[in-house]
Amino acid sequence: MAKKVLIVDDEDLVRNYVRRALASRGWEITEANNGAAALALLEGREFDAVVCDLKMPDLRGEEVVRQIRELRPAMKVVVITGSVSNITTPIVPGVEVDGFLIKPFGIDEIRDLLEKLTNPGPTPREEKH
């Protein structure tokens, strides 16, 4: 069964290539262009991973990530950001994320990261595919 990923970014250009990069590797893609839409989608559906931008017009990305974590504690969360300064401080204070990529990032970077996170080898998984 195809793994499901939710891509959250207000930038069409970024969603566009991330979607195509992952789709060609068999991922099932859902997109949201703002934080509220992302949270609404998460209410009713299961995802293996979420790729979330940190700066969006409606909700601060940090807040979205915090709420996603509360809603789906075991889901993999990857943060993508264009602000380099974020790497020096915890991305979201008090919330652990599974990975992050600094924009601009290439298609193999996002593919590899998600593959690695969702195929953890010996570690037992809680979520079903």
Partner: protein
């Protein structure tokens, strides 16, 4: 024809006005007459006068009031009060109101002429003073000084001798020295006088016929000089230079008046030079502040822009790579898109450097050993330097105090300086890293570290720009032009400063000064 000076006579007695007017005209002055105070003031508002000779008791506006009004209209005008009611009280009162001199009627016309000459001479000095103080550009100021001194002391030649960086006297500016031989002999002459100057700034004894003086008789070509005067320049009570003033005509010795003029002029010059040196220091400090401001503004801008730029850049990179996946690797399109991909990575690198000094986070300050920072940095790049046949000299002073600094950021600074030094010596060379403790004039301890290379050096024209953001001499794609800007930003945040010294062909030295 031009008159010696433009003089206004204000007197309500026509005969007296006529008498003064006729005498002054006869002596080559241009003269205008007014018959009361109000008329006098009106003339001053309409025309530029060097001097007014004015009665005190006149119908309508009296002389005191007119004097005040004239000085308001033209602060540079000199005024001589001439009155028949000459008491000490009135004299003092006129001086307080800004009159230059006071003479009692009836007066000998010769005394008036003398007073007029004195007033005009004072005005000349005022004008020269203004000219000297009006510019702080050294070349211009020195030129004005030499031109004025030659004129005032009626000399045929004059020269200003200053020591160069190595303390060797050289001619900074001169007048009337026609050829190299003359320049050489006058320089040697002045250099010997300069060696005798004691730093008190007092005018030195004039020298007559230096060609026949045994102190100078070995200098060829000095016999043309008949009479000389010297004005020593002083800085911090030490001899700083010398103005030599020469008359070439026989029987034209400098007299007591000339010496007096020279003394006044000398103190004026010393004051002006001190003034402009202080002003330049101020400007330099201001320049550093502006530079720091510029960096901070740029940093904030960069921080805000990075996000905006990184989004589209991410799109360009991702889409390029998606297309690349579907292209024949041997095709031209594939090669072109690879170039685009490379260009994106270059942009990314630039933005990362830009952001490295835009970070708003606080510098994490702790007591740090600068020697340790440098050692740590060297472990990162010593291998690279050795590969390039660069010999590393460590001249670390032992037992230096710790400074309050951010270890990582200081490392970044030294890494930058060491990388630049390496790039300056592509064919090998020597890298010298030194640390020292110094005290500034206020007694504060400063830790100075310097990184010197033996590369090609930095051209003087670009030395002033190397700390500017995006200024680079490295090939396109090699340097971002931000390395030294980042260093400057970091060291400024540590309340220190960073400076570059270089002579083309003789390598470059960067000094980093951090307060202890």
């Amino acid at each position: 024809m031009s008159a010696k000076a433009n003089i206004l006579i204000v007197d309500d007695e026509p005969q007296i006005a006529e008498m003064i007017s006729a005498t002054l005209l006869l002596h080559g002055y241009a003269v205008t007459v007014a018959y009361d105070g109000a008329q006098g003031v009106e003339k001053v508002s309409a025309e530029k006068f060097d001097l007014a000779v004015m009665d005190l008791q006149m119908p309508g506006m009296d002389g005191f009031t007119a004097l005040g009004e004239m000085k308001k209209l033209d602060p540079e005008i000199e005024v001589i009060i001439a009155t028949g009611h000459g008491t000490m009280g009135i004299a003092i009162q006129s001086m307080r109101k800004g009159a230059f001199d006071f003479i009692s009627k009836p007066f000998d016309i010769k005394d008036l002429l003398k007073a007029v000459e004195r007033a005009l001479e004072k005005k000349k000095f005022n004008d020269i003073g203004r000219a000297i103080f009006s510019t702080i550009r050294p070349e211009e100021q020195l030129r004005v000084i030499i031109d004025s001194v030659t004129r005032i002391l009626k000399a045929q030649e004059s020269l200003l001798v200053l020591p160069d960086k190595d303390g060797k006297p050289r001619i900074a500016v001169s007048q009337g020295l026609e050829n190299e031989a003359a320049r050489a002999s006058r320089l040697e002459y002045c250099a010997r006088m300069l060696a005798q100057s004691d730093g008190s700034g007092k005018a030195m004894l004039p020298v007559d016929a230096p060609g026949a003086d045994k102190r100078f008789s070995d200098i060829a070509g000095l016999s043309a000089v008949k009479f000389s005067l010297f004005l020593p320049l002083v800085e911090d009570n030490k001899p700083a230079g010398l103005i030599g003033i020469n008359r070439l005509e026989e029987n034209s010795p400098f007299n007591e008046d000339d010496l007096q003029r020279a003394r006044i002029f000398g103190s004026l010059v010393n004051l002006a030079l001190r003034n402009s040196s202080l002003y330049r220091q101020l400007q330099e400090t201001q320049g550093q502040l502006i530079q720091a401001e510029k960096m901070s503004a740029l940093g904030q801008l960069a921080g805000g822009l990075a996000h905006e730029i990184n989004n589209p850049l991410s799109g360009i990179l991702g889409l390029t790579q998606l297309v690349l996946e579907n292209l024949d690797p041997a095709s031209q399109n594939h090669a072109d898109l690879k170039e685009i991909e490379k260009a994106v990575f270059r942009c990314k690198k630039i933005i990362v450097s830009l952001l490295s000094f835009s970070r708003q986070e606080k510098t994490r300050v702790e007591p740090v050993s600068v020697n340790e920072v440098i050692e740590e940095t060297l472990t990162l790049c010593a291998r690279q330097l050795e590969l390039q046949r660069v010999k590393i000299n460590r001249q670390f002073s032992p037992g230096l105090p710790l400074v309050n600094a951010d270890f990582q950021q200081l490392m970044q600074v030294f890494l930058n300086l060491l990388t630049n030094a390496r790039d300056a010596m592509p064919d090998g060379g020597e890298l010298t890293i030194a640390t020292n403790l110094l005290k500034d004039p206020a007694g504060r301890e400063l830790l100075i570290s310097s990184v010197s290379d033996t590369g090609a050096g930095i051209e003087p024209e670009i030395l002033g720009r190397i700390f500017d953001p995006f200024f680079t001499t490295k090939p396109v794609g090699k340097g971002t032009g931000l390395g030294l800007s980042v260093c400057l930003g970091i060291i400024s945040r540590h309340n220190g400063y960073i400076k570059a010294h270089s002579m083309p062909g003789a390598g470059a030295t960067f000094t980093v000064t951090i307060p202890v």
